[in-house]
Symmetry: C3
Subunit: 264 residues, 3 copies
């Protein structure tokens, strides 16, 4: 048996038996694979949060890793189960956008709609494709079967509307898409977006009633409890408080706006 890594990203939480059932199915097919959780605490049915978490994590895994992502509000509907083969990875899950951000970032080589029921569990429930379709397919894929035997190649798939920042009266406007365990607020403004907008000129970032001048390179350039902005480890603009909790300080929420203007 090949030793392959399979990662898991779901909105199933950790209290229920759902994740373990998927792992059991996979280990029954390939007991030698290594299972790694990315997160099971995506907000229920929040495809966007799932897509962004996967996009932040996937590239740190070795080539050939199978990334399994099941945030699947449409389970049982006509949405398709899909496999993306990209430059370095496999991405497996519902064709609803949860995979496409990461898969397109890595470069899609082939997309296959899973239709060969020989690789599903004998009885497929209509509410839990994670266990009955995606887990067994991941298991078989990890044993080295030909991906093309899983179904038919398709040329199009569901793109995810990522919500790129936009320009309003000459300013760059983005939003907070994620707040982490430290209260750091991650925006949808990437390093690239900022470079293109500011072209190395000085910037001022507004959030709520507060303004932040320029970017720091690390938390440590700020004073204790100071509000700061920096490019986080995922290469997005982040609003933080040194040794503190930016969310509590700013009383912000996901989807709140952040506005960037050139300094006069």
């Amino acid at each position: 048996m090949k030793r392959r890594i399979i990662t898991f990203l779901t909105d199933f939480g950790r209290k229920d038996h759902y994740v373990a059932s998927m792992k059991g199915v996979i280990l029954g097919i390939n007991p030698a694979c290594t299972l790694v959780d990315i997160s099971h605490e995506v907000r229920p049915h929040d495809i966007r949060e799932g897509a962004l978490t996967l996009a932040n994590a996937y590239s740190y895994f070795p080539k050939g890793t199978i990334h399994l992502a099941v945030v699947d509000p449409g389970v049982g509907s006509s949405r398709k189960p899909v496999l993306f083969m990209t430059k370095d990875y496999f991405f497996l899950g519902p064709d609803n956008g949860v995979l496409s951000l990461a898969a397109e970032k890595d470069g899609v080589k082939k997309a296959i709609v899973l239709s060969n029921r020989n690789f599903f569990r004998p009885s497929v429930s209509s509410t839990f494709h994670g266990r009955d379709i995606f887990a067994p397919v991941a298991g078989y894929l990890s044993t080295g079967i030909k991906p093309e035997s899983l179904g038919r190649i398709v040329r199009s798939w569901v793109k995810f509307d990522f919500g790129k920042p936009w320009i309003v009266k000459g300013d760059l406007v983005g939003e907070i898409f994620h707040i982490d365990a430290f209260g750091n607020m991650v925006t949808n403004v990437s390093q690239q977006d900022l470079n293109r907008f500011a072209k190395k000129r000085a910037i001022v970032i507004s959030i709520g009633k507060r303004e932040i001048r320029g970017l720091k390179k690390s938390y440590w350039e700020a004073r204790k409890r100071e509000l700061l902005a920096l490019i986080g480890s995922g290469e997005f603009l982040e609003i933080s408080v040194r040794e503190g909790d930016a969310q509590k300080v700013l009383k912000c929420r996901r989807s709140d706006r952040v506005r960037i203007r050139l300094q006069n």
Copy 2:
């Protein structure tokens, strides 16, 4: 060393060092085993929730898996540590009912009370048998020792009172025993219970002040935000809201009643 799977189900939570200590003890005995968490978020001391979660998950793992379940309010009392050898699995934990639902479902071949201290840690605390008794026994069991060497065979064990649905004035009455991360409400009414009661006739399900006519096959047969009933992936009757949270809609809690009557 044999490569065996050991699963974990506890009420220890994930913040403390308890689960890791158990895993360390096992890996010290058999570094080649594969460790899989089922859940550590069973409500503290809730044997019933533990038993049901284990019963929902165990059968998806390959034959020979060792299922270790420690929900153990009686630790340090006269309750016995026990091993069930069933048709396909090993179940290990306190003899308080947390194992017996799953073990009996799979078919108990032998029950052994763990009494051979050679397979315990040298010093056994009175508050943490998970680490000092169950983990080392699981470790040794995974290396292939004879289960009979662990203690003495017994003919009886603690049954768990599962709380089967009952008949009131011709209706079938069950209760909600679990609410999952999506707000789906799982009842103790199994597919079998329903078949036996309804014999394919149409049914009406009452919960709180709401009524649901018939069962859907999937969430997707309902309209968006519609309340529905279906047989969930664990083969129990479940009350759900399509793309919504049934618990919030119904403001129900665990142990609330659900009543099923034949349609006139």
Copy 3:
């Protein structure tokens, strides 16, 4: 490749991609290592809670285990990344005290400040040394490189102020440093501290307005719902309620005082 165990202790939570990114980096260097989570739910930036959790867990793992602990409020500052080689283990993380309690308990043989960038990721962010420094160093260490090649040996490191109990008017005064998932309140008074203070004489423990006479050997010596004190599995004095939640009963918090006096 050597099969080595690497444990993780962080304050990153489990919702974000941070922990998975670290694991991906390690598996890219050594796909054969076994990864075990101790906890990712240390309170953000709480070095003391991290240090105590690590000190409670580390010794249950087999010799040669690499313990990776990243509670790192000073990331990006001048605090040093460090490796302790102890009697039986490796401890890897920031030199801020999170490692030193456990490392000194096991006996430090060598301390090495990590300075050889060949063992870091090519680009080191200033906010996430867990992924860019500690994970790759753990990975390389698990493949069997010489620890001395990682940097330079140092003779001193940051000690952590553990907050030992003290004597007030002849009484021993400690505090609650941790409350576990069951509501058990763990104090900083060790079995040794108690022995030295009481010399086998009878004691009375005061907490809030309540008094507890003597220690029990297990929860089970108390009556149901009785408040009791015992030496917990980590060898510290613990205040508990049999089959109940001591925190809810006493309405105590972390850092609350506990006072021990000799019985008249």
